[in-house]
Symmetry: D2
Subunit: 348 residues, 4 copies
């Protein structure tokens, strides 16, 4: 595979010329719009083709790779760089973000109380599900568009950007303008129609790892979004399925430093879904940060025992505040390793 | 949960009266159209509610259940009954169906050669992928609507009904009239938007088990389709993910008799994807039938070494013919057990 | 690795000469006594070494292999050959054996009643545990040597050879003379001290697959026994651990034909432990035979509801008889495939 | 189950009287010698039995439990208390221990170089394998008793206590006097004969979690040792088997805080075997401590590229020193949470 990076100021004619030269039967060419200059991805490579393209106007660099996710790879695109989630909120490349909020949006009051609480403790994104993927067709499926309206109100009231899950390709376009970050749930990690739709919008995407997906499949799923021209993908480890049921899922924390060595995309951890147990959320949040995660996403509810879903794994506001204080101390301790860990800076 | 079965000849007024009586806040009511008379599913139950509804006109029977998939359950809907896949092709309740064909539709010639071959050996459905779910965005994604056209031609030429995979909810409506059976792939078993769309069409659905899904989740996924009013769901075991990589997936054959004790829906087995190895397809096909499967779906290609995908697990036409002969002998041997195995009859 | 097979009539001097020639630092040499002539296994190989040894007296053949289990491999030792379990009872190479009996030996009466019953239905080996591996130290651990005495009585009364589990290396030597087959349980598949002890006795060994062991690890565990000079190893698939708990274990039946293509050792299946559910034992027994298993090991108890252990997965005598009749019909049906399946003959 | 704790100063007659009173058919009684006074474990319980025993002389307290590992449980034996590994080296209850050294003992020089290096960086126990459990019978199996002699020399030279693996019950008695801590490897976690032998010696035991074992099975395995009268058991999480092979095993870190809530035994983590990749050892060590682990066991080799086994996951001395410095900072940061985490004190 050949990745041709164009200059920032190249013309569309330059890009077209590259494509014309490279396109052959069985060797498709894709133009990927990117902030620092478009990319042309050629599915195939030869020394002759490489040589030929290098001299064309507008071409910045040409790379050959066997990596199955070139746009996501560090190999081609270098060290981790921050992703902008919303104005003033960046993640990765040393900047840490904690997202928090209820599993489902239930009422405006609860959502607002939660938003104010988590903001006070240092969270910088509000999470809340309006469309809920439920195993059972008879279970509560979320408030839908009414829930989106409540999220917009909470954002207005607190200034916190909001993240919510999108489950179907046809919802992507109408939903994107109303929220700040779109989330792909674990069951949809290989919903390729959904991934393609997300590649076409200008909003960051949080891509949860499939509960039975390998690291390689996960990065290729990210590539589906990137190749559509959406550069802002954040990965989220949320636990995999294993034989052991003593926790809800098995948090596969070792892949955090592994994935960070493979990709420039930020990686966060969801200890709430991973463990399914409130009392494990604090220690596993600290562990995730110590392992090098770029952030956390935490389920918080003012009164977890009244939550419509995921109560047993939700923290109350006090416990969340305690978590954030402990997280701050861990991040401060990690700061000393800066040189060794790709310039981790503490944003909190 | 309360399942109210209406008489076949009841009026829509009868149904409306039942709904009016049962609907309360927090206790939603769903009308499920069914061939033998509609069902009303009430999410909640009480002796009073049950008593009240029994006397209403048009009510045939009322059942209370804790089962999370009442419409799919044997508990409520009794023994396995055949599902009509196409005129003259029925599966389940003792009727066996073998589906065969290439992984992907590649050219009209190959497809037709395959269709004629598998029909001659006794297959009664032609399989072929036009929309291919691929882990990598740069891999061949299938011929799309062109592939559908080729399937329609092969059907016309051979009379074999065709099955193909559908990957996105927005494709369901336009695709349904052109094919006989719609397939849900393993990665989409919990794509709830897709399942809901399939609940609204009048075509049978083959629901593959998710590679990471429990039996309970699988039957609840079937329930998503059934509750939409589409009664024709066939389940397909195709191997799960485990620690062992000596076969492509781990064929979980024990769940065939288990699932048949839980549901009236037919269950078939895909030994091609389960094992990923051509030489294991014959023994595991026989094993599947011996375990009580209602059918098989087999990848066949006239020249597997030239196949664009899944060549190593595809049989050639000769090997498929050998498989069908062996299958016939096993089914004949099983016939003697008829009384013990819910009336398994040999349809071949 | 180099495998030097000696002639049957070679002298110990011939063997010594081969060893002297091949032994070098970092290149250990092992003499493996075998019925058809000893083997010398040399851990290392070179064309020169191979050439040199070929001319020595007593050398029948020399093979070079990268296989990690040369003595177990078909590659070196050819097609499956029957293993003698007891006088007149052979397994593999087309001969089928069914072993049956209670999980634990409980009383002489129950054991004898079971032995007579399973013999009448066609079982040719009596199983019964005297030393029970239990997860909990406070659980019933078996009758120990008293149980062995009861097994010997049952053998005397019925003529059935007996199989029982051995758990510790120090028990191997004293136990071997009293029973016909020694069983290694799933938790001990990689108890290398135990495997080494079993390599030194003249009794066949049933090696159950570890519940989390790969096929490769299993065959290497068999090699530990073979390299000690004990040629009579029978493999037993009994289910692996996976995420799905709808059956007690996940019966990995596809590895039966896979393993038979890799090794000459017989492979049987334990559907009782694999499924943990009585009603699944019959269909999975038939499936195992259809997949090519050389036999079955089945838990049978005259009154399963009174069994001290594994009652829910035990068949009563009537159900076992029904299983044996169905198995006979399946085996008869498979006979037609003889040419294709390495000469499977029906021994029942 | 009833746990009768005797006074420290009770007589053997007192204990005998308790046993006499409680022993009945089907209700076995075990005397467990313990430092703070023996325990009598009665397999069965009734109000009458409990009442009766309370009044006997020497009885300190009586507890009834349904826990399957009463001696290991916090429920009966309260908060974590430190375990003495060697004079001056204690683990648990807030005291942290790092064990380090080569996978296998290779030569005296390498071992001594490693021992001096890891001691200088703050390790307080030297690890090194003399008996190596290897999947393949032809692989290097360790230096055996010669390796033990080298460990003893390294201890003498550096003052570091040593830990080594024991694989067979018959090795326990002779090995125990020569080393400080005996290790049970992952493949032997349910080698019950070995566990029983370890229950009878006066040396601490490091019990690695089986790669296929649940938390419940692990604690019951510990109970096998405890019930023999050996109170000094330390648990070690070393990764489980899952579908994902991107790391050697899947480090199941969430069970660290979970297990610490269930048992008073210390829990350490082995990031070397868990990840199999040198570059993941540092981040996962920090994560383990942040999750609440009582210590670490790390593979270190002066020149990993020359190691006979596990080179790719071994740190060199410089990397280990860096790890220890980072670990110190994390532990200092965690100190602030003391009140919340059972009094974690930083021992380094």
């Amino acid at each position: 595979m050949m990745i041709i990076q164009m200059n920032d100021h190249c013309t569309s004619l330059d890009v077209a010329r590259v494509c014309d030269q490279q396109e052959r039967p069985g060797c498709p060419v894709r133009i990927v719009p990117r902030s620092g200059g478009s990319c042309v991805v050629v599915d195939g490579d030869s020394d002759a083709a490489r040589q030929a393209v290098s001299d064309l106007p507008g071409v910045k660099s040409v790379s050959i790779t066997k990596c199955s996710y070139p746009l996501a790879s560090r190999e081609i695109f270098g060290a981790a760089h921050p992703v902008e989630l919303a104005p003033g909120v960046r993640i990765g490349g040393g900047e840490i973000v904690v997202m928090a909020g209820p599993c489902s949006v239930e009422t405006g009051e609860i959502l607002l109380e939660t938003a104010r609480g988590v903001k006070a403790s240092g969270a910088s994104v509000l999470r809340g599900g309006a469309f809920k993927p439920r195993s059972n067709p008879y279970s509560f499926q979320g408030l839908g568009s009414e829930g989106i309206a409540l999220l917009m109100e909470a954002r207005q009231a607190t200034g916190l950007p909001v993240i919510t899950e999108v489950m179907a390709p046809e919802d992507v376009e109408w939903l994107a303008p109303h929220v700040d970050i779109l989330q792909v749930g674990t069951r949809n990690m290989q919903n390729f129609a959904l991934l393609k739709a997300l590649g076409r919008v200008d909003k960051p995407v949080l891509l949860k790892r499939g509960m039975m997906s390998t690291v390689d499949e996960w990065l290729q799923a990210a590539e589906y979004i990137l190749v559509g021209g959406n550069e802002r993908v954040v990965l989220c480890e949320r636990g995999i399925r294993s034989f052991d049921k003593s926790t809800r899922n098995t948090l596969d924390l070792s892949i955090v430093p592994l994935v960070k060595s493979l990709t420039h995309l930020p990686v966060i951890v969801d200890p709430s879904h991973a463990t399914g147990k409130r009392e494990l959320v604090l220690p596993m949040s600290l562990a995730a940060l110590a392992a090098g995660a770029d952030g956390l996403i935490i389920e918080v509810h003012p009164r977890p025992e009244e939550a419509l879903s995921d109560g047993p794994q939700s923290l109350d506001l006090e416990a969340f505040d305690e978590l954030m204080q402990a997280a701050g101390r861990i991040l401060a301790a990690l700061q000393f390793q800066e040189g060794k860990r790709c310039g981790l800076k503490i944003a909190m």
